[in-house]
Structures are given as structure tokens and as C-alpha cells.
């Protein structure tokens, strides 16, 4: 059995003490000491699909980008097109380096003209800050970049009952906030929050950005309201069923958004281009070397790093994420495979599970889509 390391080496969130007191199984993620599960991954997963759960995702990094030139800076930084957003709207986007590799994937919130909030992955925080600051320094108007990660806590409330749960604690409406829209200064359980209709589970719900000092009060109010906590274990199975990429798995410095099948978040027509455009355009013209596919396996669980082969075809693919799907109750995985294989839905491949070939077939992504 794996032994757990001590908490002292890792960063904590404003809710770490709560998780430990609640008896959560803790583990390291992105440099933080985080709750992996409270009762069990399957139970927590199913609760989010059926009703509602809350996640402490305060490990996420937040940057404010503000001032003259901020519109142009964020447009330059990311492949999607943030300056085209309305105020109060958000988008998902990869952020590339010149070579087309992915520096990170993030949410960009447009709070107003030249006022943005960027939310990136905890494990990339320091590198992202350096990168964003270095790009900002090249702009003539030098918009301000401020890392507010330590001041901001993030609680996600997700599931078919999530909107009702948050609405019942909010002063004023929140159900009218559209998908990938947000509202600032909403009082939720008497805590001022940025309420965002976003998430990482494939379910409806909100992400609530609050001051770090307010997080325990909001978390406690949600708990009193019957919303149960969900750990990062179920967050991973939920996002995988919904085919949402996880940085370091489906996306990495050596994986481009085109390979990760995120081409719809790359805006070629954006005036002035963006960092990595030339490399990505060349990749698009030649066809990316690899392609992200969904797999369903029989008789073994494909895990990240396992090799994928196809009978009669050259080259090898690799599993980027794999698990037992709590909803479908079969082993599922995402894998990067050679584009030259030309695989389509229904095609057979093989995954080397601890040296044993396990048959798998290519399936449509996402694995799970919520009933509309």
C-alpha cells in the first residue's frame, strides 16, 4: 500500500484543516495538500451526477491582468479570443509557447475592457506567472499582471441540484447567469463571491471565487445546507467521463492543442495572431502527428502511460488518462495515437496493461454527456 507523505512539505488551502478534521484521505496535487476522497470516489462521483457536491479547488492559480493593453495582451497569450467576450463572460483556452506546445490551459474571465481574471493550474503557477509577465513586458503599454492566488479561494458546486443549492444561499438571483458567464459581488451565505457558471465535471453548476478568509464560512454554510464534499479523486473521474483535458495528461509542453483535439479553441482569424500560431498553422497544414481518441477497454483498466498499439499499423500510442468509469461501469481512457492509424469509432486497438494486451475499441467522446 502507498504511504502518504507529511503535509508540511506542501501548500495548503484555507480549507485544509476542515478536510483533515472531516477525515478526508489527503494527498499531494499540484504542490498542494488536497483531499483525495472523503467517503469513496464512486459514491462522491455518483452524488455529483445525481444531485450535488462541493469541491475545494483553491489550489488553482489566479492572475489579474489589467490596464491599457490588457485586451491585446490576453489575445496574444492565448489561442482563443478573450477580447471578443462580453463583460461578464468567460472562455476556456489553451495557452501556447512559440513551438505550439501547451504552456497551460485556463479560463479567462472578462470583467471589463482591459480587465481580466486568468485561472490556471496550480502546478504551473510559478511558470505561468513568469511567462505571462515576460510577454506583458514586451507590450508597449505594459499592462499589470498580479498573482492573487493566495488571496483567492475557489469552491466548485456541481451537479443537477447545484444551481438550486447556490441560489438558496444567495441574496439575489444566480440561476439566470448563463453558461460560461459570471457575476461579481454576489452575496452567497453573506460572503461576497464571483459566481461563475462553469465547472470541470460535465454537470451544471457554479464555481465560486471568494476571499481566502471567507472560504471557511461559505464552505460551512454549504455543508449546513446538505451539500457534501467531493475530493480530487472523483473530480478526476468526472472530468474524464466528460472528456475535459487535464494538464500534464492530455495537454503538455510537448502536446499541442491540435493534437489534443482542442482545435475549436484556436482562433486562426484573430487579428494580430497569438503566440504559437505559426507552429500550429504548420502543424495544421501537415496534419498533427498524433490524435486524441477515446477508448473503452475490456478486461483491464488502461492507466496513464500505458502503450497503445494497433494490429498491422506502425508506431505506438500512449494512454493520457484512464480509469474505471463510475457512470458507465467500464474501463475508459483517453489516448494520443498516431494520426497515420486513421482510426475511427469502433476500431480495435490494444492497450498493454502490465505487459498483457487488453483489447479496447475507439469510442465517441465525450464518454458522458449530461441529459439536457
Amino acid at each position: 500500500m502507498p504511504e502518504e507523505s507529511t503535509a508540511s512539505r506542501w501548500r495548503t488551502t484555507p480549507l485544509t484543516a476542515w478536510h483533515e478534521a472531516a477525515g478526508a484521505r489527503m494527498g499531494e496535487f499540484g504542490g498542494f495538500w488536497m483531499p483525495i476522497l472523503y467517503e469513496g470516489i464512486l459514491e462522491e462521483h455518483r452524488r455529483v451526477r445525481a444531485a450535488v457536491g462541493m469541491f475545494d479547488v483553491s489550489h488553482m492559480a489566479e492572475f489579474l491582468v489589467e490596464g491599457d493593453g490588457a485586451d491585446a495582451l490576453v489575445d496574444r497569450l492565448v489561442t482563443n479570443w478573450p477580447s471578443r467576450l462580453e463583460d461578464g463572460q468567460a472562455l476556456y483556452t489553451p495557452m501556447c509557447r512559440q513551438d505550439g506546445g501547451t504552456q497551460d490551459d485556463l479560463l479567462v474571465y472578462r470583467r471589463g475592457a482591459n480587465r481580466y481574471l486568468l485561472v490556471t493550474n496550480a502546478g504551473n503557477r510559478d511558470e505561468d506567472r513568469g511567462w505571462i509577465e515576460s510577454v506583458a513586458a514586451q507590450r508597449p503599454d505594459r499592462p499589470a499582471v498580479r498573482d492573487v492566488s493566495d488571496e483567492v479561494a475557489l469552491i466548485a458546486v456541481q451537479g443537477p441540484s447545484a444551481v438550486a443549492a447556490v441560489e438558496s444561499l444567495a441574496h439575489g438571483p444566480v440561476a439566470d447567469i448563463g453558461y460560461y458567464h459570471f457575476r461579481e459581488g454576489v452575496s452567497v451565505a453573506d460572503v461576497p463571491a464571483l459566481v461563475s457558471r462553469t465547472g470541470y465535471t460535465g454537470e451544471d453548476g457554479f464555481e465560486l471565487y471568494v476571499a481566502a478568509t471567507d472560504a471557511p464560512a461559505l464552505w460551512a454554510a454549504l455543508a449546513r445546507h446538505g451539500v457534501k464534499p467531493v475530493g480530487l479523486g472523483a473530480r478526476d473521474t468526472l472530468r474524464l467521463e466528460a472528456r475535459l483535458p487535464l494538464y500534464g495528461h492530455e495537454l503538455a509542453r510537448d502536446v499541442s492543442p491540435l493534437e489534443a483535439a482542442l482545435g475549436s479553441f484556436v482562433k486562426w482569424e484573430k487579428p494580430g495572431g497569438f503566440i504559437g500560431r505559426e507552429a500550429l498553422a504548420a502543424q495544421r497544414a501537415a496534419g498533427p502527428a498524433r490524435r486524441l481518441v477515446g477508448l473503452e477497454a475490456v478486461g483491464g483498466i488502461p492507466r496513464a502511460g500505458y502503450a497503445v498499439t494497433r494490429a498491422g499499423a506502425a508506431g505506438e500510442g500512449v494512454v493520457t488518462s484512464g480509469t474505471h468509469s463510475p457512470t458507465l461501469e467500464v474501463p475508459i481512457a483517453m489516448a494520443l495515437v498516431p494520426r497515420a492509424w486513421g482510426v475511427k469509432v469502433g476500431d480495435a486497438v490494444s492497450v498493454a496493461v502490465r505487459g498483457r494486451p487488453v483489447p479496447a475499441k475507439v469510442v465517441k467522446l465525450p464518454f458522458y454527456r449530461r441529459p439536457s
Binding site: M1, P2, E3, R25, I36, L37, G40, I41, L42, E43, G233, D236, T237, G300, I301, R303, T323, H324, P326, P331, R354
Partner: protein, 126 residues
């Protein structure tokens, strides 16, 4: 300390398997708790030879994969086929319905260099 239930009348390995006097093998309460929800087992077929201290199968939870080590040398006499459809039995009843295999062995099933009694297992450092 190995936490969880550790019934008397069984013998234990440092890798958190148990074996009963009739050769029935499973994983301990501590092991199932540490693994979390068991979702898949890769167990040997009846008739296969297994060596003491070597891997005879794999247990997978949602998040992790763990090897199963044989407490004795012998032959697989029975496999718990119920686990194919209900792997959660390993969590719910690790010493009962969640048993894994039964081994025919000529090794002594008793405390010794490999097998610990309940008190010895409880005293293991985590």
C-alpha cells in the same frame, strides 16, 4: 500499526494478504481501506501454480493498482467468480464474501518467517 479489523485464526503477510487454514486467500481490511473502491481484479485461473511471495494477481481501485502476493506456494483450487460482477465485495467483506482464491498448498499455514498471526500483523509498522 495495520489498522482495521484483524480477525484471529488467520495468518497475514506484510503485503496485507490473509490466508485461512483451508488455503482461502484475501486482502485485509487495512488493504481494502487503503485502496478505496475496488473496481477490477485480475486473478489466476484454477490449476495455476503460484509461488510464495510472488505476484499472483492484481487488484485495482478507481485510482490505483496493487499487486497481490501469494502467502504460500501451491496451486489455485478455486477463484471467487462473484468478484467479476461484484468487485465491491472486497471492500464490503474482505474476510468473507470478498475472498480472492483458495490455494492447495503443502506449506505450513502457521506463524513463521512469512506468515504473521493477528497480533503480529497488528503490530506491523504502517
Amino acid at each position: 500499526m495495520a489498522s482495521g479489523k484483524v480477525p484471529e485464526g488467520r495468518w497475514y503477510t506484510a503485503e496485507h494478504e490473509w490466508i485461512a487454514g483451508d488455503g482461502t486467500v484475501g486482502i485485509t481490511d487495512h488493504a481494502q481501506d487503503a485502496l478505496g473502491d475496488v473496481v477490477f481484479l485480475d486473478l489466476p485461473e484454477v490449476g495455476r501454480h503460484v509461488e510464495r511471495g510472488t505476484v499472483f494477481g492484481v487488484v485495482e481501485s478507481v485510482k490505483s493498482v496493487s499487486d497481490l502476493f501469494s502467502p504460500v506456494t501451491g496451486t489455485v483450487a478455486a477463484v471467487n467468480d462473484q468478484l467479476k460482477d461484484r468487485p465491491e465485495l472486497v471492500n464490503q467483506d474482505p474476510y468473507g464474501e470478498g475472498w480472492l482464491v483458495r490455494l492447495d498448498t503443502e506449506d505450513p499455514i502457521a506463524s513463521g518467517p512469512v506468515l504473521l498471526d493477528a497480533a503480529g500483523y497488528r503490530a506491523l509498522p504502517d
